[in-house]
Subunit: 307 residues, 2 copies
């Protein structure tokens, strides 16, 4: 049994209304691994970095039970770099610069030791790369979860649609759900997307929480109301890491357990936004996570006797 | 014991991306009364209408247990009229026309038979009118809930601040909470507003649900994800009616019971938006409400064993 995570490992430079970071460690795969490693081991990582990526960052992940055999290091190339600036609402952002670097010709290779994959988390990447990983696995994982973004809907829609037929759970944000379905109502969007392949759809709404759709069922998890959102970068990936980490730990892929997994993902995301980059994720303890989960229980728990 | 409701009774003309209404019955007081009357009787209404307001609308409310002794009928004047147009997101709207008419010089008069008021719901109105009702009550109600809007923050802030010191629960939407507190973060906004008088603050976020703040406690109720939002007019007032109606029925003003009341308010609001104006509220049965409440339980209910 193992959890395989596919995703970028990168450098980010971030500006928010409240501050500005240096060039710091980022990437969907990084956030997912930090988040999921609170819940299960080993995590088998697939990614690519340049010779400029600090070995100590890989070592820190290894120390948490993340296997990096599938992380290609291209010594003579540079790591993927993204810089962006958030608006006052912290829900919208402008990309200032993107340097694809090693991601430009990334050919993922699934190591033999990853063939025991039961849970596969496909972080946001070129759909062709996500497809390649699925195709390299000889045994179909018990659960395949994928994240994607509007960019791929615009330049790789055919691949993306093909990929959708191969996965169990799709994660997108609200505007991406609308773009993919051409429906404004999220309920209508969900109904349409659930005919495109995935049996489960998670729509992330940032500070407004997340919805899980499955058949005619819908579940809602709020985001924790926070005094300050310092840096939203990676919150969605951190959410994904908590979600898949909990499912892989419990080996239970029922709709009921996915509800719990979404709450756990939301709790993890609420830590992520408290500091720049992955900083906060590297600090939190099991006790911090338990306390935060208790806050979620208090946040939504109510008693009702029908009138 | 009684519930007194203060609020406008009006004519509205509404345009949405999906349709356009004739001049139909509206007004905060109308929506609150229709909604609350599912939960408790009598409801003692305070309002003002012109000679053009249909007697049958008052009769329909009377049939539901709404006492209209405190509704002034100014035979030679016209009823308040509002028309507006909603944007595609259904969360923002433009006012096309406002005719204050009878509201311009409205002096509320609390009938002697209303002096047993235990629960007072102050629908959105001029703060001076809301204050006048409180001052006319010889015994301080067990609970005073008020709604207001940004307009009064701009033209009657001193009255509004004075009023805030007299009430228990304030209901505003997210942009109003930000405007009143000069804080962007809703948690910071809530902390500040809770120093201005009210012990409880409800921040309504439309399709994104509602938050209840009290001391260091926070509770979140989602809005039900709907295929179609047909007309959001009155949803906030309908929410208020369900909230105060449940509290008045149960006579329990604990924080725990307010959580339940917010869920009930959210359920009522989810009906309101399904048709133009008060139409849907006049149709629903107890069984409809119970079924909708069960949907809310399903929407947010989860099990968690701390990791």
């Amino acid at each position: 049994m193992s959890l395989v995570v596919v995703g970028s490992m990168a450098f980010d430079a971030i500006e928010t209304p409240f501050g500005k970071s240096d060039k710091i460690i980022g990437g969907a795969g990084t956030y997912i691994a930090w988040s999921a490693s609170n819940f299960c081991k080993p995590i088998k990582q697939i990614s690519v970095v340049g010779g400029d990526f600090p070995q100590e960052e890989l070592d820190k992940l290894t120390a948490r039970g993340v296997v990096v055999e599938g992380v290609q290091i291209k010594k003579d190339e540079k790591t993927f770099f993204w810089s962006g600036r958030y608006h006052m609402d912290m829900n919208t952002r402008d990309t200032l610069e993107t340097q694809l670097n090693v991601l430009e010709n990334f050919q993922p290779v699934v190591p033999e030791s990853y063939q025991d994959c039961d849970f596969l988390m496909l972080g946001n990447l070129v759909p062709a790369v996500q497809i390649s990983v699925i195709q390299q696995l000889r045994k179909r994982p018990k659960l395949i979860v994928m994240d994607t973004m509007n960019f791929w809907m615009e330049i790789a829609l055919d691949d993306l649609k093909n990929l959708l037929t191969m996965v169990d759970v799709l994660m997108v944000n609200d505007s991406e759900a609308r773009e993919l379905s051409h429906e404004y109502s999220l309920v209508k969007a969900a109904n349409k997307i659930l005919t495109m392949g995935p049996k489960y759809l998670i729509i992330k709404k940032g500070e407004h929480g997340a919805l899980l759709f499955h058949g005619n069922h819908v579940f809602f998890a709020p985001a924790l109301p926070l005094e300050d959102v310092f840096d939203p970068t990676g919150a969605g990936d951190t959410f994904a890491g908590g979600f898949i980490g909990h499912l892989a730990r419990t080996k239970d892929i029922s709709f009921e357990n996915m509800k719990t997994a979404i709450i756990i993902g939301s709790a993890m995301a609420s830590f992520c936004v408290e500091k720049f980059g992955t900083q906060r994720l590297t600090e939190i303890t099991k006790a911090d996570i338990d306390a935060r989960l208790e806050e979620f229980v208090q946040l939504v728990n109510f008693d009702i006797d029908l009138v």
